[in-house]
Symmetry: C2
Subunit: 347 residues, 2 copies
């Protein structure tokens, strides 16, 4: 994107949410005298006797984990949503609340405490994807579960309280805000063009190459034009699929391959275990058809300048809207200059 707008303060439009983000490309030279974070630690031990996610250990609930060898999932001991929630609708003047049912699960990616996705074998990441798929279909198939949010909080800075490689799944009756926003935009475009909004966007991105990070036969990874977080990225399937339940075997493998490649780049950027929250956005499981939807996985990593300096989404961002300093194109370029081999495995 070789245009003058790239060097001056500007706003970019997010085609999936209809919201704008403020970009201040001239602001990267600002000195930082504020808070620094602890750098993401590299774990050594494959088994930690005090970890409540390691195989064979006993959790806070008193339950003992089996001696699992493959991705392992269980109901969160501190679930924020519960399946046995009575139905209550509370309305009083301008106050409105309603009870919410749900099931929250934890997904251990590997029995090996020392690993993270970028350090796992591709075939083992494929098993994680298959587990996500199974859970999406099973949870989504239940009565009263109308949406399934798969996500990972990686790193202490992202509120992750246990370094064992794991993610979470929160499934619930209501369709959450972020999904509703995207549904509107997917639908508008579908009604006008009878094509996938994200599919068409991907075609345009692959043509220009400005923001592409990785590509294989079935998937691409890119920095979206409207990225909010400094190194925000998105993995998009080339086929117009509404949810991960529709992935075929080849696609599962291709997904694992690109997931590994992207997260290796992330770790290599600041030579640290790169923190992020990632999540999959896909269609509600309320039984309705959503032909317009195109599932995707996004990564929101907080680091900006180094392993210890993050971007703060505070005052202006909370009250007005998101703001970023480096452009999406600069972020893509930085990641593309890095080695494809994880820094821990180099020579």
């Amino acid at each position: 994107m070789n245009t003058r707008i790239n060097n001056i303060p500007h706003r970019r439009y997010n085609i999936l949410t209809g919201e704008w983000i403020l970009v201040s490309p001239h602001r990267t030279k600002r000195p930082w005298q504020g808070k620094t974070e602890e750098s993401g630690k590299i774990k050594k031990e494959k088994y930690d006797p005090s970890c409540y996610l390691c195989p064979g250990n006993t959790r806070a609930s008193g339950d003992t984990n089996p001696n699992y060898k493959e991705p392992y999932t269980f109901v969160n001991d501190f679930s924020s949503l519960l399946p046995e929630t009575p139905r209550i609708d509370y309305k009083k003047g301008l106050l409105h609340a309603e009870s919410e049912k749900g099931i929250c699960k934890v997904v251990c990616f590997s029995p090996d405490h020392s690993l993270t996705l970028p350090l796992m074998k591709e075939e083992d990441i494929t098993k994680v994807i298959q587990m996500w798929k199974k859970e999406y279909l099973e949870l989504g198939g239940k009565q009263d579960i109308n949406y399934v949010q798969i996500f990972e909080n990686k790193g202490a800075i992202m509120g992750c309280s246990n370094p064992h490689p794991h993610g979470q799944i929160w499934s619930q009756s209501a369709v959450p805000t972020e999904i509703l926003k995207k549904s509107i935009k997917f639908k508008e475009y579908w009604e006008e063009n009878k094509r996938s909004l994200l599919g068409d966007y991907l075609v345009q991105e692959l043509k220009s190459g400005d923001r592409i990070l990785e590509e294989n036969e079935h998937f691409a990874a890119l920095i979206p034009f409207w990225a909010v977080w400094p190194f925000e990225a998105m993995i998009i399937p080339k086929r117009h699929l509404q949810h991960i339940g529709k992935l075929n075997e080849l696609e599962e493998k291709a997904f694992a391959e690109i997931l590994k490649k992207l997260t290796i780049k992330y770790d290599n950027l600041f030579e640290t275990s790169f923190p992020y929250s990632s999540g999959i956005h896909q269609i509600p499981t309320d039984g309705k058809e959503y032909p317009e939807w195109h599932f995707h996985m996004s990564f929101y990593p907080p680091l900006l300048r180094s392993a210890t300096v993050k971007k703060f989404m505070v005052g202006y961002e909370m009250f007005a809207g998101p703001q970023r300093d480096i452009t999406a194109e600069q972020a893509a370029q930085k990641l593309n200059e890095l080695s494809e081999v994880h820094y821990l495995n180099q020579n």
Copy 2:
């Protein structure tokens, strides 16, 4: 709010944005083994020779601060928006960006480096409010400035890189997302009722008292029913005012009084200099009429359990929508049980 829904997982509706928030009241017992923050430091020195905001000191830009005695404001040396931005509209397929003009300012609340709002005298807080008013009217009166965001990032945990008491003002051509959302809801209600949505809400809250923190003749402070952050609060003028430019002298003083009371409670909660981002939401300065709007000031403080454990708005919150553990009523009760005297000044 003595109802069964208050003890089970539920969602609450935000009447100002139309969005929902997930509340998990049963989840407060979750143990925390994750990241802890450094506690907000108490500053001792009234003057810091290395602080770029103290009177008489030289800033990064080379400019020297005058020997100011009252609130002092200047253009941010690292402004994210600039007044001399050429007008460019960039559209290419599904990419859309436009240049954005603006003026960013810093507002020093006091020459005294050691202070914060809760420790300032009421009459000196009144001067800060008068300065906000002046800036809102002056910046808002400029060509191409259609919105003025006044905010404060307090504490290192909120990305504040300098502990000198100060806030910021970012003013710009576009009306940002959060304001657009609220405009829709204010307008809907106005068209139906010809009354202020927030005014009616305040009347209802004052009647029940469940979430009220402070009240004086002209203002009230409360935990909104739909609060996202654990101790989120809102200061609302009783008079239906669209912006702070309309405050009369008595209201300025009453605003200062309630601001001081609320922030003292905040500091007393965990006996720390309580971090938050605060901001004022008011009408755009694009010259249009917005009779439906009712200005208000909100506080988004991150701390949850103690001076060192915050609420992480990560995975689920980023991908689905906000989630909280303690209820708004519990938060109000906790704050209401505290002394009105700042803990540093108690005996």
